[in-house]
């Protein structure tokens, strides 16, 4: 049972990764006894399971994900959010309105306007209805001022790092508050514009170089150099 690739190899759709007794992980499919790649990405094999870490691709919502949405429309009792995904998100207005207010009788644009940025959590997604999100909870809700940037949703796991190591490093070194939406939107709020710009540069670098090993060291080096001026 030969394996044709090694870890950190770059593969494209249709490439034969291995033959024989291997198990197909994410973004890999098995047909007969051959394993094929389905997307452009990096190979990772562990204990006979071959998986691909994609470099590109759309955001598919998952229950429990924190996402950042932009209000695009109103329904009679709900807001419609763009979450950078094939599916739009619905946020019930009762979560935003003060208690005892009737959403039907209220002008919803008084509370959230089109273009407002809301940090929320996916509470329901079954592919047969729109995504239902909630903005009740710690660190959730409308965000004002700060900076919103967009990266490829496929790079978010690298940006967070193992147990949040990468993002903690950036937060510590730049002193910014950063909220990462799993959908590729990132909100940054710093003490001044310079620290926000630095955080953005670092995040853009991670977005570009996520497929090259030794990323953490390079980011550490970059932050150190920036600090020294």
């Amino acid at each position: 049972m030969p394996i044709h690739v090694k870890d950190w190899d770059l593969v494209v759709p249709g490439e034969v990764l291995a033959e024989g007794d291997y198990v197909a992980g994410p973004y890999v499919y098995k047909e007969g006894n051959r394993l094929f790649a389905t997307t452009i990405g990096i190979v990772e094999s562990k204990r006979g399971i071959i998986r691909i870490v994609p470099l590109q691709g759309p955001y598919i919502p998952k229950v429990g994900d924190v996402v950042i949405g932009i209000v695009i429309d109103y329904l009679p009792t709900a807001y419609v959010l763009d979450i950078n995904s094939p599916y739009k998100a619905i946020l019930q207005a009762v979560e935003v309105l003060p208690p005892q207010k009737n959403a039907l009788a209220e002008d919803l644009s008084k509370y959230l306007d089109v273009g407002d940025v809301v940090v929320c959590k996916v509470v329901r997604f079954d592919k047969y209805s729109d995504v239902i999100v909630s903005c009740k909870g710690r660190e959730l809700g409308k965000v004002t001022n700060g900076k919103l940037i967009k990266v490829s949703p496929a790079k978010i796991p690298r940006l967070i790092g193992r147990k949040g190591s990468m993002i903690d490093l950036i937060k510590k070194e730049t002193g910014c508050r950063i909220i990462i939406g799993q959908n590729g939107f990132i909100w940054i709020k710093g003490k001044d514009l310079a620290s926000e710009a630095l955080a953005e540069r670092v995040i853009r670098k991670i977005d570009e170089e996520a497929h090259i090993s030794g990323l953490t060291q390079r980011i550490q080096l970059m932050l150190q150099l920036e600090k020294e001026g």
Partner: protein, 251 residues
Amino acid sequence: MSVKGKELVLISPEGKRLDGRRPDEIRELKIKAGILENADGSAYVEQGNTKIYAAIYGPREVHPRHLALPNKAVIRCRYHMTPFSVEERKSPAPTRREIELSKVIREALAPAIIAEQFPFSAIDVFIEVINADGSTRCASIIAASVALASAGIPMRDLVAACSVGKINGVLVLDVTDVEDKYGEVDMPFAMMPNRSEITLLQLDGILSLEEIEKAISMATKACKDIYEKQKSALKEKYIELRKAVEEGTRT
């Protein structure tokens, strides 16, 4: 065969074609992936004088909504020739031929796309022919499948395509405009090289059974070479960046 009373020799007795190629040789093929800023995925293909852009948008919401499918994404394809792509100005409105080619290209790509992962959504493929010199549908398929892969859409395999023609009784690969117009046969062919599955086979003209078998084996071989080019085009950007980082030349 003659044009204005003069005998037209598309292939010399030594087996050289008008542009100096051997019968089993394809034109120089250049592929670039991810060149359009605003598309989710894109590609540019240059095969001899045939020049094509492909752009992918999606998966995204379907409009009008009633077209959405509950079990998979709808794939929509638009093949369009720019008015300046041919010798005589072509009206920009879609012609019968373009509508047909859109369908043919869509059906050649569909088996490769794992559309079941995105129900109620649409994947839009836009193909723009900048210059047409034969085999545009094959070049479009090459471009579109590279563009789909660069958008990160899950695919079973890339789709490679090549046309086979018959000129002065000889089977040739990758026909040009002149060979298509004055030759006897044009056979567009597309396949998924790793799975050895044919996704497009059309035939304009008459071939014997033996000739068809030979044509398919020639095209299969060409598609495997084209697949390698598609692969390196997709990897190019990432490999260059990796090299720059490893050499420390990147700031």
